[in-house]
């Protein structure tokens, strides 16, 4: 029972200067279901690709079933008994479901011309087991997304693998099918198949995994059973964002402090992060009690609205729509359902933009970006309604919403790389009919971002990452919006720039706008949040003020979608 079936030692994979897998040593025991989790970009899929021979490792070894398979070709590894699926199923669309199963080359080219009886029997058995036998004679291109996933699983099981690696098997699968899939996994596991699964859905990990390995930045962070892993402070840091050192300017700007204190049961691990914040704590005028922990802002709301009140007159040119905070939600989404193809990503979510910064948190793949795009009109809503100031804007295109004063800042900033900085900013004012207003706003933006002034005639793509982000903020400000939808503006930026992002976000609020902000770095973002929504698996897990999130354990559970 404790025989290791798959072992990697010091497995390393580099892409240029990026070390995607950094000396990963993972041991998978036979007959277990082994979960691999970790935030986006932590190297999970690369690990799968390197283990199964799709990438050549730059170092380290892979041992499977007692044999060194390092550097083998993918098909050799698959026939040796280590099979895998991909995140996106890719059946042979013109073949029937059953033909897809039979197309598996169990013996390589020696499989021969004739399909042996036992192979047919196995295909029938698997189709029945996976409950897709009723579509056996349909073309695989026509079956549903969930059936595709099951077919993908069935197809690799034709190889009679000893170990199967599944890359996000439940992504985009509805709950009932997900449970069926998990049942099948457990049945197969009972029959002796080992599974290694990458999964973002924590309920899946909690339900079926015997052991869990957590990756972060290409390294193994923690290994253990689910409870011990999710209780580990390092895991929380990886998911919620560590409280990195940042300069005190933001704290002074928004007049709040950020306390970091150990939550119960993980005291030892938080020592370092707590130490990182003494300056902030000293500067604070109103320290929150340390109990419960979490970077919960204390005076954020009051300070924010006070600043907004004073700033709304000063920055009149920026609040072009003449927005004054009135306590009303301006942009409201009700029971929104949307997604891509037949893949439902946002599943009945109601959100409102409020005065100040409304934060949307959630793990990767929880539907945050899609929700924001649905609000902006980039992704059409399948169900539900979006209203702006009481007017139904559900069917609006994004351009129409910009005219109304609802602007979205896409995750990559969406700047025009080949156009100059000046042209980028001017195009931000595309919807502004009055040239004088555009000029005035242009000057306002430049005084907000003096760094851009000397770069006006440079191409936007020649700017540094931080400057590009400034430009995308500045360009968004040129639209004179009253509701800003910001999709992870800090992603891909150096940690030292995150404060700057929050400062600029705050500046939008000061101009009188309402801001909806998606952010991965929950602890940091909580410092400027006035209202919080937490999404998981496309559904709302929590909404309320940051003060309601007093217990970080609750936050972790909400965030990971554990109900």
């Amino acid at each position: 029972m404790t025989r290791p079936i798959l072992e990697t030692e010091g497995l390393t994979k580099r892409f240029g200067s990026l070390v995607a897998n950094d000396k990963l040593s993972v041991t998978v025991e036979e007959d277990t279901i082994h979960g691999i989790m970790g935030p986006n970009g932590s190297g999970k899929s690369t690990f799968f690709n390197t283990v199964t021979g799709f990438y050549r490792p730059d170092g380290g070894t892979v041992r499977f079933d007692g044999e060194d398979v390092t550097g083998w070709k993918p098909d050799e590894i698959a026939r040796r008994g280590l099979a895998r699926t991909f995140q996106i199923p890719s059946p042979f669309e013109d073949l029937t479901v059953k033909e897809n199963m039979l197309a598996v080359f169990t013996g390589g080219l020696r499989s021969g011309v004739r399909v042996p009886e036992e192979k047919r029997a196995r295909a029938d058995e698997l189709l029945e087991l996976l409950e897709i036998d009723h579509v056996a004679d349909q073309e695989a291109g026509g079956v549903s997304g969930g059936q595709e996933k099951l077919l993908e699983l069935g197809r690799i099981l034709m190889l009679e693998p000893a170990c199967v690696m599944l890359d996000e098997p439940t992504a985009g699968v509805n709950p009932s099918l997900r449970n069926r899939l998990l049942d099948h996994l457990e049945t197969l596991n009972d029959r002796g198949t080992t599974f290694v699964i990458i999964e973002h859905d924590m309920r899946v990990i909690a339900d079926v995994c015997d052991r869990v390995t957590v990756f972060n930045q290409g390294q193994v962070l923690v290994e253990g059973d689910f409870e011990s892993v999710t209780g580990d402070e390092r895991v929380r840091d990886a998911y919620l964002g560590g409280a990195a050192e940042h300069d005190a300017s933001l704290e002074t700007l928004i007049g709040e402090e950020s306390t970091e204190s150990p939550s119960e049961g993980a005291a030892a691990d938080t020592g370092a992060t707590a130490d990182a914040e003494p300056a902030a704590e000293d500067a604070s005028t109103e320290p929150t009690p340390a109990a419960g922990g979490g970077a919960i802002p204390a005076g954020g709301e009051a300070a924010g609205s006070a600043a907004a009140a004073t700033a709304s007159s000063a920055a009149s040119a920026l609040s072009g729509v003449g927005a004054e905070p009135d306590g009303e939600p301006w942009l409201v989404g009700e029971d929104l359902v949307s997604g891509y193809g037949n893949h439902r990503v946002v599943d009945g979510v109601s959100v409102e933009s409020r005065d100040g910064v409304t934060c949307v948190f959630g793990p990767n793949g929880s539907g945050k970006s899609t929700l924001l795009k649905t609000l902006a009109g980039v992704v059409p809503a399948w169900e539900g309604q979006v209203t702006h100031r009481g007017v139904d804007v559900t069917g609006n295109r994004p351009a129409e919403n910009v005219h109304r004063g609802v602007t979205m800042l896409p995750q990559d900033g969406g700047i025009f790389g080949n156009l100059t900085v000046r042209e980028n900013l001017l195009l931000g004012g595309y919807t502004v009919g009055d040239g004088a207003v555009r000029e005035e706003r242009f000057d306002e933006v430049l005084s907000s971002f003096p760094e851009l002034e000397g770069k006006l005639d440079d191409r936007a793509q020649s700017l540094s990452g931080g400057q590009q982000m400034m430009l995308s903020y500045g360009r968004a400000m040129m639209t004179g919006a009253e509701v800003y939808l910001l999709d992870e503006p800090s992603s891909g930026l150096a940690p030292s720039l995150i404060d700057q992002v929050f400062e600029m976000t705050r500046r939008l609020v000061e101009s009188g706008a309402q801001v909806v902000l998606i952010e991965q770095n929950v602890r940091e973002a909580l410092r400027i949040a006035d209202y919080v929504y937490i999404l998981a698996q496309g559904q709302l897990q929590f909404e309320g003020t940051p003060d309601d999130l007093t217990d970080e354990d609750d936050l972790v559970e909400l965030y990971l979608g554990l109900d």
């Binding site: 910009v402 700047i415 042209e423 595309y430």
Partner: protein
């Protein structure tokens, strides 16, 4: 794909002996041919051309290159903004040629009045074609759009053939030539070049200086980003396709000034225009003109100094060389600058 066009292109060169004949691209190539003949008599036995002859070729090359540049301009614009390869570009030119013919015959006015009319008509036609065929499949794979524009080409060309037949037509315009110290400058081509340069400048100024022009360039650069600043991308697409078609109209409108034409003429220009666009860099405006000049020079000097139509080989050798050395084209980039 291009190689399949080659025989066609060669045939046309073989026919390029008699000026005014129906041969496609006949005007310039044929003129070059006649001059070549007289020059050959003058310099019989001398291997190097006299400075006058050389200057003559140079003028022809520039004139021809300018036309190619103008033809490529609309093509490269539509590609730069929408990533759509517009196969109907040559057909749109043909529509413009016959528009100029009909307009001049009907009104008795100079063809120079017909050209602006053709440009406006082609703009409208372009917008209609965009709305009815491209817009519904703008998010489909590129080959779908390519096939649809190919379908538009067949419809347009067949329509023109049904209405006017496939016999060569001409305006009956005798513009003559200027003689500048022994160098002939055919006035038809000269006007065409001037119009091409004006069109380039005007289009460039429009794209650089106006808000709408910036919006077109912004959309070319980042379609997603464009919608976030309130640019109505489908409208910009319609406008771009309209302008591209109008430029095709301009190119088609000036061609009757110096050569006879048939419904098949558009395709022959289009083949070289594709080479020009790729040579200069997809989506690049100056690239279109640089590429046009290169092809113009290769064609004129090649047909003067090489046997038969070997210059065609030279065109595609240059094409392949550029693709090898600088795959994005000589001035590859986006529609701006």
């Amino acid at each position: 794909m291009l190689s399949s066009f080659l025989p066609d292109a060669c045939c046309r060169e073989a026919a390029a002996g008699a000026p005014g004949a129906a041969d496609p691209l006949g005007g310039l190539a044929a003129l070059a041919g006649t001059v070549d003949a007289t020059a050959a008599q003058a310099v019989l036995g001398i291997s190097l051309p006299s400075p006058t002859i050389f200057a003559q070729y140079f003028v022809f090359a520039v004139l021809l290159g300018g036309i190619y540049g103008l033809v490529a301009l609309g093509l490269t614009m539509i590609f730069g903004v929408m990533d759509v390869i517009n196969f109907a570009h040559g057909a749109l030119m043909v529509v413009a040629m016959y528009t100029v013919l009909v307009f001049s015959n009907a009104t008795g006015l100079s063809p120079f009045f017909a050209i602006p009319f053709a440009v406006v008509l082609l703009f409208v036609l372009g917008v209609l074609i965009y709305r009815s065929t491209i817009a519904p499949i703008i998010d489909a794979p590129q080959e779908n759009q390519l096939i649809v524009t190919f379908g538009v080409l067949l419809i347009l060309i067949s329509g023109v053939e049904m209405a006017f037949g496939s016999d060569p037509r001409q305006l009956g315009l005798e513009l003559g030539s200027l003689n500048i110290s022994g160098v002939f400058v055919p006035q038809g081509q000269l006007y065409a070049l001037v119009i091409a340069l004006v069109a380039l400048t005007a289009t460039w100024l429009f794209l650089q200086r106006t808000m709408l022009g910036r919006a077109i360039r912004g959309t070319a650069d980042n379609r997603d980003g464009a919608q976030y600043v309130g640019i109505d991308v489908p409208r910009i697409d319609a406008l771009t396709f309209g302008i591209g078609a109008a430029l095709a109209g301009l190119a088609g409108g000036v061609i009757p000034l110096f050569q006879s034409f048939t419904p098949a003429l558009g395709d022959q220009y289009l083949i070289n225009a594709f080479v020009v666009v790729v040579l200069g860099g997809l989506g690049s405006f100056p690239g279109a003109f640089v590429g046009g000049l290169i092809i113009g020079f290769i064609q004129v000097f090649g047909s003067a100094y090489l046997d038969g139509s070997s210059y065609q080989i030279l065109i595609f050798l240059a094409f392949i060389l550029v693709l090898l050395v600088k795959p994005e084209g000589l001035l590859g980039g986006s529609a701006d600058e």
